[in-house]
């Protein structure tokens, strides 16, 4: 296997393939940079071009794009408090407060460095698990998947801050939003008002953009001062890199967590950044500063979200099950190049899988370098007066929102969710739980239903279920005791621009 790995490197380093990889990297960075555009958009753009390419070249292009979306998306999250894509929502929690203190360069430096390390670790994990991939994926039956969804939901407890009841209500509100649209298992359309647009449910990017981006548009203008509030841009990205190095253990375990969460099929990686953020907060010493601009709050999600891509490719390539919109299109791309996902990708087609691993690693390195070079010019955005920044953002966001399903409903929902999000922000409701509840609602419902109809009550005694249950209890209990133990309670509210 190692031998194949190095033989493949030669194929990957072929100049024409490197050229396509860089094309992919450039597109991926641009897509990440523009809020509202996700990897899915990038894939749809590239899909027509891969037709007829040889699989190695085509994969260099596609994987090059996928690998760096979560590197580029950090810019808007840190600088504007707007999620650049759904993978970098948790970065806002601490990245944006850092930018408000004028430390944007430091936050970005740490983020890109961690993205790079995370991406490399993701690639390495993909390589290491190839021999065990089958038993590993098969270890997760529906009951275990339900418990994993619960584990994700337990993050709501950590992210709710000083008002747990409100936090849980927000989480449940997100879950109710998640039930909108067609129900699993039966032809029933819930809360759709017979509006065909809602039959597929509300798209996740709209929830993220509405909750986080719309309030920024309004509050920036009302505050009438730039994001860095006149603070000089201090610190260089090197400080951020040093920060990451001094928290190398956190970088490493967040990356590992990201890669592992990525490969669990059916759960998707949409919550991996929150999971990583919540666990980092829970297990760090002196965690009062989380949510107020703690560099660890940037390191954890950024390491995880790039590592996730490596993990997420496992079910996609080896089982033909896409975990997200992006990987769904990747499968289509493979088909256009005359390949089919399946177990043969680790046997007869092993070189292709190896080339994917190499592409992941190389693209992550170059993506991070490109972003580091871009910090200086782009960080200046945080000093621009809002009235000169917001109109451009508004155009970009509405265009981005419309790309989610090319329907007027996208724009209307963006506005409605945005107004609700603004009110919540004004009343200090935590908004992160809504996203978590939304993402996990359908998986929780689906797997709970399947577990009961297949196993009755028996599934509760499965060892996997019990292990995850213990984990959940431990997390919740620790959050409870830590909160009680402290005089000053942790505030993990999503800090936005205060007007």
């Amino acid at each position: 296997m190692i031998e194949t790995l190095f033989q493949t490197l030669e194929i990957v380093l072929d100049p024409s393939r490197i050229g396509f990889m860089f094309l992919g990297i450039m597109l991926g960075l641009t897509i990440g940079l523009l809020p509202g555009l996700s990897g899915t958009v990038g894939m749809s753009i590239l899909l027509p071009f891969v037709y007829g390419m040889d699989p190695f070249t085509g994969m260099a292009l596609l994987i090059g794009m996928i690998a760096v979306v979560h590197t580029g998306d950090t810019f808007p999250s840190v600088l504007l408090g707007i999620p650049g894509s759904s993978g970098s929502q948790a970065t806002i929690m601490d990245g944006f407060p850092l930018a408000q203190k004028g430390e944007a360069s430091r936050a970005l430096g740490a983020a890109f460095f961690c993205s790079m390390i995370g991406g490399i670790i993701g690639g390495v994990v993909l390589f290491l698990v190839i021999p065990f991939v089958r038993p590993l994926v098969l270890a997760f039956g529906s009951p275990e998947l339900f418990m994993l969804a619960l584990l994700g939901l337990s993050m709501v407890g950590i992210l709710s801050g000083k008002r747990p009841v409100i936090g849980i209500i927000a989480g449940l509100f997100g879950m109710m939003l998640g039930t909108i649209g067609s129900a699993p298992a039966v032809p029933e359309y819930r809360y759709t008002f017979d509006w065909l647009y809602l039959f597929n449910g509300i798209p996740l990017p709209l929830i993220a953009l509405g909750l986080f981006a719309f309030p920024v548009l309004i509050d920036l203008l009302v505050s009438n001062q730039s994001i860095s509030k006149g603070a000089k841009l201090s610190g260089s990205w090197l400080t951020g890199v040093k920060d990451s190095l001094s928290h190398k253990w956190l970088v490493f375990r967040s990356s590992a967590l990201g890669a592992v969460t990525g490969f669990v099929p059916g759960l998707g990686g949409s919550v991996v950044d929150w999971l990583s953020y919540g666990i980092a907060k829970q297990t760090s010493k002196k965690n009062e500063s989380f949510g107020k601009g703690d560099i660890r709050g940037v390191i954890a999600p950024e390491s995880a979200n790039n590592a996730k891509e490596g993990g997420a490719l496992i079910p996609t390539l080896m089982f033909g099950i896409p975990g997200s919109g992006t990987t769904a299109i990747l499968l289509g791309g493979l088909l256009l190049m005359g390949m089919e996902a399946g177990p043969q990708l680790v046997t007869t087609q092993l070189p292709l899988t190896m080339s994917i691993i190499w592409t992941l690693i190389i693209a992550n390195i170059f993506g991070a370098i490109a972003c580091l070079l871009l910090i200086k010019p782009i960080a200046k955005f945080s000093t621009v007066h809002p009235s000169k920044l917001v109109p451009f953002l508004a155009i970009l966001l509405i265009l981005g929102a419309y790309q989610t399903s090319n329907h007027w409903g996208d724009i209307i929902l963006f506005l409605v969710i945005g107004i609700v999000g603004w009110i919540m922000k004004q009343l200090d409701w935590p908004r992160a739980p809504i996203l978590i509840g939304f993402v996990l609602a359908l998986s929780a419902e689906r797997y709970l239903w399947i577990s009961f109809s297949r196993f009755g009550l028996e599934w509760l005694t499965r060892p996997g279920v019990i292990i995850i249950a213990v984990l959940i209890v431990a997390i919740l209990a620790s959050s409870f005791f830590l909160n009680r133990g402290k005089k000053i309670k942790t505030i993990a509210e999503d800090k936005g621009v205060k007007s």
């Binding site: 958009v41 749809s44 753009i45 009841v165 409100i166 849980i168 209500i169 449940l172 509100f173 879950m175 109710m176 039930t179 129900a183 699993p184 298992a185 039966v186 029933e188 819930r190 809360y191 548009l217 309004i218 203008l221 009302v222 007066h385 009235s387 000169k388 109109p391 451009f392 508004a394 155009i395 509405i398 265009l399 419309y402 790309q403 090319n406 007027w408 724009i411 506005l415 107004i419 603004w422 009110i423 919540m424 004004q426 009343l427 609602a441 929780a444 419902e445 709970l448 239903w449 007007s499």
Partner: protein, 146 residues
């Protein structure tokens, strides 16, 4: 409006929403109804708890913090965005964006006309280039010029 009153009002509204969703859930087929029903039920109960807590704190402390110090401004800026969206609906995305951008920069940012023109023009070029190279779709409108 005071912030604590606004909180209370919002909680009541949220409760109504959950209550409505709970009632609605009962009209679904059994398989599809249990999940939203119990989630809405739980959420409804918690909302009542939160409301009671809110009322208690409201009685105990005199909260003088306003919901928003500058609410008229908020409405104004929301109005800008709503207006922009309506404009998109009427004249199409590119034209609406150009008009919105130009007028906004002129009146809100108080930029000089030359600068406004240059910014608007550059944005338009960028938008068109983006839609060409990135295959972005534009919202449909009543009158689509391009």
């Amino acid at each position: 409006m005071k912030k604590s009153h606004a909180s209370l009002l919002f909680l009541v509204l949220v409760f109504c929403l959950f209550f409505w969703m709970m009632i609605q859930a009962q009209s679904f087929q059994e398989t599809a109804s249990y999940f939203p029903f119990y989630i809405a039920l739980l959420a409804g109960i918690l909302t009542v708890v939160a409301t009671i807590k809110q009322i208690v704190t409201l009685k105990k402390t005199k909260d003088e913090e306003l919901f928003h110090e500058n609410f008229m401004n908020v409405l104004k800026y929301v109005g800008w965005i709503v207006g922009y969206i309506v404009l998109i609906y009427v004249v199409g995305f590119v034209l609406a964006s150009m008009i919105y951008l130009f007028v906004f920069l002129l009146f809100e940012a108080r930029m000089s006309i030359l600068k406004c023109l240059v910014s608007t023009g550059a944005t338009a070029v960028l938008l068109i280039a983006m839609s060409q190279f990135m295959d972005l779709k534009w919202p449909s409108s009543l009158i689509t010029f391009f």
